[in-house]
């Protein structure tokens, strides 16, 4: 193949030099990326491959639906809890279980805690090194760094002495010759644009954020007993409330409420005084690097999340916006119906699975997954030593989900574009403010930088919502309502013979859906389509490329040996590969077809 045009508007040309990034690091799970560069080192073809598969939905078949949250929670330990919440919502939808107001409030606090914490960890520990040159930080003047820090934020840890300590620690670390996780980075690449002082400030905050993220998750520990992987409950939340009587120390009491409130206050402070000023400072130096828009200016989708009130399934009840935008038309926002078999369908033409009709799409309620690992005839290498993938054949463990036939981008940027297009002030105003401060037009939003910025703004929004819901919890308790679980339909004997339901959340990485079919008290079919299935999808039968692939297109790489730009754009999605590769069969029978060769 040389040049082809994809239906979703990208000119692919795989005639140039092929480079491979595998493993893609600083992500969750395993992923491979191959691109073709033209003579100017511009990406003209992009191939993203999910390289792991665990088969959790096969494992779920026949299990107790009340246990499904624990299994699906283990889909991902980074966005821990979001699959569990999606799962209990799917089961409650199937069985028509109403939950107490306090349960909805506590679930929201937990989900928002995850959003804020996950975004923070992503920015500093998974993404920052794409923008921040650690070695350049060694050259920083601590006094000038202090001046820089104090000019952008009232954050207390900003004295020259503080930055001198960080600088000395870094210097000694580098001089030890044992560079640990910083060994062999692309340090010194011309793609790094920050002055040494900004680099040093970012390194200091990398370390501070590492300390602080562990404080944030204590909210999960209070309400869910541990983190990662807190506990959840079909019908409500497991933690009981007791603020007055004997035994209150074993329940959510005043001390626990105070602990959560204090963490929320510190979270808001950290995000507003460290994360956002850093984000803005870094963006200032990269505002000319507006690559990586991909599908964001075309097709974006969000299921919406954070219900203000319990059991209200209406879209207006959701504080994170819902909808789909097609072909960049911000004036029309479509509703997404996850139960409509015409809307969401999955394809496997280029995925390592088998369908009876290889070019057909299947809705999750009818979903089938038969793993079928086979490589195309143009693959370079062998079956167990792949040098180059053949993207004209099957090339990924990720399926290709489509909404009404369209490849979609999901995630914080999708949510912010939808919120912006709807004119919701909570989304529109912070975006406009940030763009104005940076001197950038709205179109700049549709970029790698836009994705990274939206995540930061969302962390701030979520932190404030945490406070809103914590205040609401206290107010509800004050009104005398202590209820946290509805157990009227706890026993399987109370369930219908057959039921099916859908649960959704907006996970940190985007739209997440679980589909469950329950028969005779057991799981008959369980399907998940997760954010990275959408973003990391391979091509579909029509030849539409997925969001990762689209975002890489037409970006120039400064040095093909150090493909920093590729990592930067891939990381802007916060890929989660353990999440993305799970979509499973209807009956599990295909297991016998898994050949041990």
């Amino acid at each position: 193949m040389t040049a082809t045009q994809t239906p979703n508007g990208f000119a692919l040309d795989n005639s140039g030099k092929r480079i491979v990034v595998d493993p893609v690091t600083r992500i969750e799970g395993h992923m491979r990326c191959e691109v073709n560069l033209d003579e100017n080192n511009v990406i003209r073809n992009a191939v993203s491959s999910g390289t792991m598969w665990r088969g959790l939905e096969v494992i779920l078949k026949g299990r107790d639906p009340r246990d499904a949250w624990a299994f699906t929670e283990r889909i991902c330990g980074v966005c821990t809890g979001t699959h569990a919440l999606t799962s209990v919502r799917a089961v409650e939808d199937a069985l028509n279980i109403q939950i107490p107001e306090n349960a909805n409030t506590i679930r929201n606090i937990m989900q928002l805690t995850l959003q804020a914490q996950d975004h923070l960890v992503h920015f500093y520990h998974l993404h920052a090194l794409d923008w921040v040159d650690v070695v350049s930080a060694l050259k920083a003047d601590p006094k000038a760094t202090s001046e820089l820090a104090q000019s952008i934020s009232p954050w207390g840890k900003s004295s020259p002495g503080y930055f001198l300590d960080i600088s000395s620690r870094l210097k000694k670390f580098v001089e030890s010759g044992q560079l640990g996780p910083f060994a062999n980075g692309y340090w010194g690449s011309p793609a790094y644009k920050l002055p040494p002082e900004a680099n040093l400030m970012a390194v200091a905050h990398y370390l501070e954020a590492l300390d602080f993220q562990k404080e944030m998750v204590k909210i999960h520990t209070v309400y869910g007993g541990k983190n990662p992987h807190p506990n959840w409950l079909v019908g409500g939340v497991p933690c009981a409330i007791n603020v007055d009587g004997v035994g209150a120390v074993g329940a959510v009491n005043m001390e626990r409420l105070n602990l959560v409130s204090s963490i929320i206050d510190r979270t808001i402070e950290f995000i507003e005084q460290v994360y956002l000023p850093d984000l803005k400072a870094i963006a200032t130096f990269y505002k000319d690097w507006l690559h990586g828009g991909g599908l964001s200016g075309k097709n974006v989708m969000s299921y919406g999340d954070i219900p203000e009130y319990a059991n209200d399934r209406s879209l207006k009840n959701l504080l994170l916006p819902h909808g789909a935008i097609i072909n960049g038309n911000l004036n029309e926002i479509h509703d997404v119906d996850l139960k409509d078999v015409e809307q969401i369908q999955e394809f496997v033409t280029h995925s390592w699975y088998r369908y009876d009709n290889e070019n057909a799409g299947l809705h999750p309620f009818q979903g089938v997954t038969e793993p079928r690992f086979e490589l195309g005839s143009k693959t370079k290498g062998t079956r167990t030593n792949i040098e180059n993938l053949d993207e004209s054949a099957k090339y990924s463990w990720i399926k290709a989900p489509r909404w009404r036939g369209h490849a979609m981008e999901v995630g914080p940027l999708a949510r912010y574009i939808i919120g912006y297009a709807k004119g919701i002030p909570d989304f529109k105003e912070p975006v406009d403010k940030l763009l104005t401060d940076l001197g950038l037009p709205v179109s700049a939003l549709f970029s790698t930088l836009g994705r990274t910025a939206a995540r930061g703004l969302e962390a701030q929004y979520c932190a404030h919502l945490m406070k809103h819901f914590q205040d609401k919890l206290v107010a509800t308790i004050k009104s005398g309502d202590l209820s946290t679980a509805n157990t009227t339909k706890w026993e399987p004997a109370t369930w219908p013979k057959e039921a099916r339901g859908v649960g959704t959340t907006e996970a940190p990485r985007g739209a997440l859906g679980h589909w469950v079919v329950i028969k005779d008290g057991k799981i008959d079919n369980y399907q998940c389509i997760v954010p990275t299935t959408w973003n990391g999808s391979p091509r579909d039968p029509q030849g539409n490329i997925g969001a990762f692939e689209a975002a890489l297109m037409n970006t120039q790489v400064a040095n093909a040996e150090q493909p920093l730009e590729i990592l930067r754009t891939l990381h802007s999605f916060d890929p989660c590969l353990a999440c993305s590769t799970h979509i499973m069969d209807k009956d599990g029978k295909e297991l016998t077809r898994v050949k041990v060769l």
Binding site: W53, F71, Q178, K214, P228, H229
Partner: protein, 388 residues
């Protein structure tokens, strides 16, 4: 396996020299000791000693051990760690960075050298693989291999592909020259969720693939952060593997059941149980046995060390233990089914006897098995002496 064979053997670290780093720069003659690093960070000797005594107490060691720790920290270079990821969900890495004592940043920057970890490392692609090669070559027989997740063996191992090859190849390659393997979490230790029936990928725990190295299992989904950092700092500090039980778990953290040290145990003994979620008993913090709590059959430190800097643990926050550190815990019925393997109740016969009277039917099983339990306990000790 002979315990001494598993000793964490490093050839005279003090005389070990590194002249060049991976980028060819001339470096100091002797690699830094932990103390060197701390001192250069401006930490005074007094603070250093205080740190050592805190470490001793966080490891539940008496003050007599402080001297050992001081000596160890003063003289040792940072031990390289290669941290591989197979089929997993990354909850173990996430847990590790939650460690409050020591802080994850201090572990990574000062206590060991985390040379390879695809979740955190700056390098990617071939530059990342080159780092691994480098460490294996330079520190042959002296690095720790930490494994999160497990290799799938079906489909030629291609259910988990790294660098175009099956993960299991990378695992075997990295294990060949390591000093010891730490199997982080239930995936690496037992197989965990992807190995639950019917285990479609044939996800296989590390000790069934790596047969010629000591494998320290640190199970849990995930393990407790401070247990993870304690196990690894124990090895660095005392220069040996922790004492392991017959299943390969450090006795210091996995020697007792959650039930044995649960603060709700008196309610079990008094026959006071939660009967329904959010009932009056739940609000009073009664025992969750009838709600399916697996504390009586789960060996872990949750009820003592607790989670996230000691804030809480599952039972304290109202949900029963799901037994996530036990082998095949996914395949032992619903998390809400009552524990029926009553013969595993009770280390202390006296406490069990109290339980029998109050808990009625629950206790009846224990009565019959209390003696058996004691004998089995003894057998296990003997067995572990032979095996470990």
């Amino acid at each position: 396996m002979n315990r001494h064979a598993g000793r964490f053997d490093r050839t005279s670290p003090v005389s070990m020299t590194i002249n060049k780093d991976s980028r060819g720069k001339i470096m100091s003659e002797r690699p830094d000791s932990f103390y060197d690093v701390m001192r250069r960070q401006g930490i005074s000797r007094r603070s250093f000693l205080k740190y050592c005594s805190l470490t001793a107490s966080s490891l539940a060691l008496g003050p007599q051990f402080v001297g050992n720790i001081v000596h160890a920290m003063e003289t040792k270079p940072r031990t390289p760690v290669l941290w591989l990821h197979g089929l997993e969900c990354t909850c173990c890495s996430e847990s590790f960075i939650r460690s409050a004592h020591p802080l994850a940043k201090d572990v990574v920057l000062s206590m060991l050298s985390l040379d390879y970890d695809d979740t955190l490392m700056a390098a990617a692609g071939f530059q990342a693989e080159a780092v691994m090669e480098d460490t294996i070559r330079k520190y042959k027989g002296r690095y720790i291999l930490a494994v999160e997740g497990n290799p799938p063996l079906n489909e030629d191992g291609m259910f988990c592909i790294v660098g175009g090859k099956p993960f299991v190849e990378k695992l075997r390659y990295a294990a060949k020259d390591c000093a010891a393997v730490i199997a982080w979490g239930s995936c690496a230790s037992w197989g965990c969720v992807q190995a639950a029936k019917p285990n479609p990928t044939k996800a296989t725990p590390v000790h069934k693939v790596i047969l010629d190295k000591p494998v320290i299992k640190v199970p849990g989904c995930p393990p407790i952060a401070e247990v993870m950092t304690a196990v690894i700092t124990y090895m660095l500090t005392f220069d040996k593997l922790p004492d392991l039980d017959s299943q390969g778990r450090p006795k210091m953290f996995y020697g007792q059941r959650i039930h044995d040290k649960c603060y709700r145990r008196p309610h079990f003994d008094a026959g006071q149980f939660v009967e329904h979620w959010d009932d009056d008993a739940a609000r009073k913090g009664y025992c969750l046995y009838k709600m399916g709590c697996k504390g009586p059959t789960t060996y872990n430190a949750c009820s003592t060390v607790k989670w996230n800097d000691g804030v809480s643990f599952p039972i304290q926050s109202g949900h029963g233990c799901i037994g996530c550190s036990e082998e095949s815990f996914w395949d032992k019925g619903s998390f809400y089914d009552r524990v029926t393997e009553l013969n595993v109740f009770g280390v202390e016969a006296n406490a069990d006897k109290i339980g029998i009277v109050a808990a009625g039917a629950v206790g009846a099983g224990i009565a019959a098995h209390a003696a058996a339990s004691a004998i089995r306990h003894k057998n296990k000790e003997t067995k572990s002496k032979e095996n470990v």
